[in-house]
Amino acid sequence: MKAFSYSFTFYCLLGLILLATTDGLAQVESSDSLLSPLLPPSEVIAEDHPGDAGAAIIVRWKLSPDEDRGVTGYEIVRSTSPTGEFSSIGFAAAGSNRYVDANTEDSLTYYYKVLAIDVDKNVSESELSPPARSSPQWFNFHLLNLLIIGGLICGAVIYFIAHAKKGKKLFLRKIAGLEAVDEAIGRATEMGRPILFIPGILDMDDVQTIAAITILGRVAKTIAQYDTKLNVPTSRSIVMSTAMETVKEAYISAGRADAYSDDFVHYVTDEQFGYVAAVNGIMVRERPATCFYIGAFFAESLIMAETGNAIGAIQIAGTAMPAQLPFFVAACDYTLIGEELFAASAYLSGEPKQLGSLKGQDVGKIIAMSAIVIGALLETFFAISGSSFFGSLAELVHKLFSIVAS
């Protein structure tokens, strides 16, 4: 995903450049015979590619003056000595003036030439580039914007955590799904039926599972105060072992170590649908009064939620999988939507420093909303007035949020 967004932005830009040259290319086909010889690209510069781990050199050049008279592309050649044999390393489309040679050795010095090629396969060679050598860097300046905005949000989170530690009171609105947790546990106790907790189907290397386990900890603490059976089937071994520890800790801290049993948490299978088959079986046979589906879910979300609905359980779901939210919203009584899942463990803990971090999140939202509104207004002014002042300001806002491929 990360790599995709990098390359996507980059190629969008590249696409625009190519688009801009389309007209020139279209002309080429009609004007086949050129009177003067093809002129070469000039001012070839080769430099270390910035912000990387080495092994790449970026070559830039000024387009051939014949660009719009039949150049079909550029060939880049390199050698390790100015007088040595040059070998081809790649092509760049007509209209492009840069090429990244991502196959260099940091210990060698390279020389580059750029060859313009036209429709008739005429070739015209540029002057030699100055020597270049690739090297790794200690800081990637392309990600400076990430550092700035990330720093702001992290700063806000840390500030509010510290702020809350000092005992300052913070206001946070209620979240319906969390208000219902106690009620749902109480209901299971009244009915004398167990509580089912499904921590998603991904492993501990997914942050939603971590959130699920922390929520399990809080929920188990409440359950421990009643004599209600808890059932946590897991589809991953590490999740099983972590959940066991967490539930045990919850029972101990609630003063009910005696009521804890290792049987609360058990492993089923790593297979998504095998796990669902087992959970369905548990539901229809044990008839839990309350079901929690908290964590990362895929297609199985609806199978579980509908079976839970059929047995008449109160269902509380929470996930940050956008594709599964509709099914939980449709089939469950309460759904923690995306961000609410991560906020839930902080809410349920009631600890000021945890709640403080939620305030920090809100600062992030203010940044996001202002960026959209300000950026959109600037874009609009630019579109209406055509003033370059607004244009460059809008560009700046865009740049602040764009992840450029290095």
């Binding site: 781990a53 790794p136 790593d270 991560f342 999140q361």
Partner: protein
């Protein structure tokens, strides 16, 4: 100490990974990738715990003659057969580096004729549940539910010839109201806006959650301090 060291490990690993994004230089550049591989390796070891638990739970049921104990025998047998078939490559080419899923091997056959139909059918149950969920949930109980219903209804109708016929009489200037066009507009504009809001929210939630974990504010997952 026993609780302190894990918190310190989490802090160091987490913060180094965040910082390393900005440092392309060796060894930071590849850390994220390497750590994911480490996780995969840890997970295999942990699987021994999981499999042990599975066998213990079902072993107990058999031993205590739980009312469903014969089914536990099926589970244990299925697990054992599959494991032996795979680890010893029964019916396939032997040796550590041989192909596991060679056609004709027992592992591949079990996968094809037992595992796959079970999986595909379990997945196919969704077709039924999608129907029952939409019957129950898509009711105009209040304004929110009405909006949900309308969006789903337009999209669903747009997928049937009936829905296409329903609005095909509309004159050209109103063609944007034709159900297929309306459906694709809903998908690409308001749906997109909602998705974006959810995604931005999730990102902020993850950031705060990650910071709470890294800073040791949240340490529930570390569990009991028992000996």
């Amino acid at each position: 100490m026993r609780r302190q060291i894990p918190v310190v490990i989490t802090f160091i690993v987490g913060s180094v990974l965040i910082i390393s994004v900005f440092i392309p230089h060796k060894p930071f550049g590849q850390l994220g990738e390497n750590f994911s591989v480490y996780f995969d390796i840890i997970a295999v070891f942990a699987f021994i715990l999981g499999a042990g638990n599975l066998l213990r739970v079902h072993g107990n049921r058999i031993y205590k003659k739980h009312k469903d104990w014969p089914y536990s025998v099926v589970t244990v047998a299925g697990f054992t057969v599959m494991m032996i078939a795979g680890l010893f490559k029964i019916g396939g080419s032997p040796g550590i580096t041989g192909d596991l899923t060679e056609p004709g091997s027992m592992f591949e056959d079990l996968y094809m004729y037992v595992f796959t139909p079970l999986m595909a059918t379990m997945f196919a149950l969704l077709a039924f549940y999608v129907a029952s969920a939409s019957h129950r949930a898509f009711r105009a109980k209040n304004k929110e539910a009405t909006v949900l219903l309308l969006a789903a209804f337009v999209i669903l109708l747009g997928r049937t010839p009936f829905g296409v016929e329903l609005t095909s009489w509309l004159p050209d200037p109103l063609s944007f109201l034709e159900i297929p066009n309306l459906a694709s507009w809903i998908m690409s504009v308001p749906n997109m806006a909602g998705q974006r809001a959810i995604m931005v929210g999730i990102a902020l939630g993850v950031i705060a959650m990650a910071l709470r974990v890294i800073l040791g504010v949240e340490r529930t997952y570390l569990g009991a301090d028992s000996e």
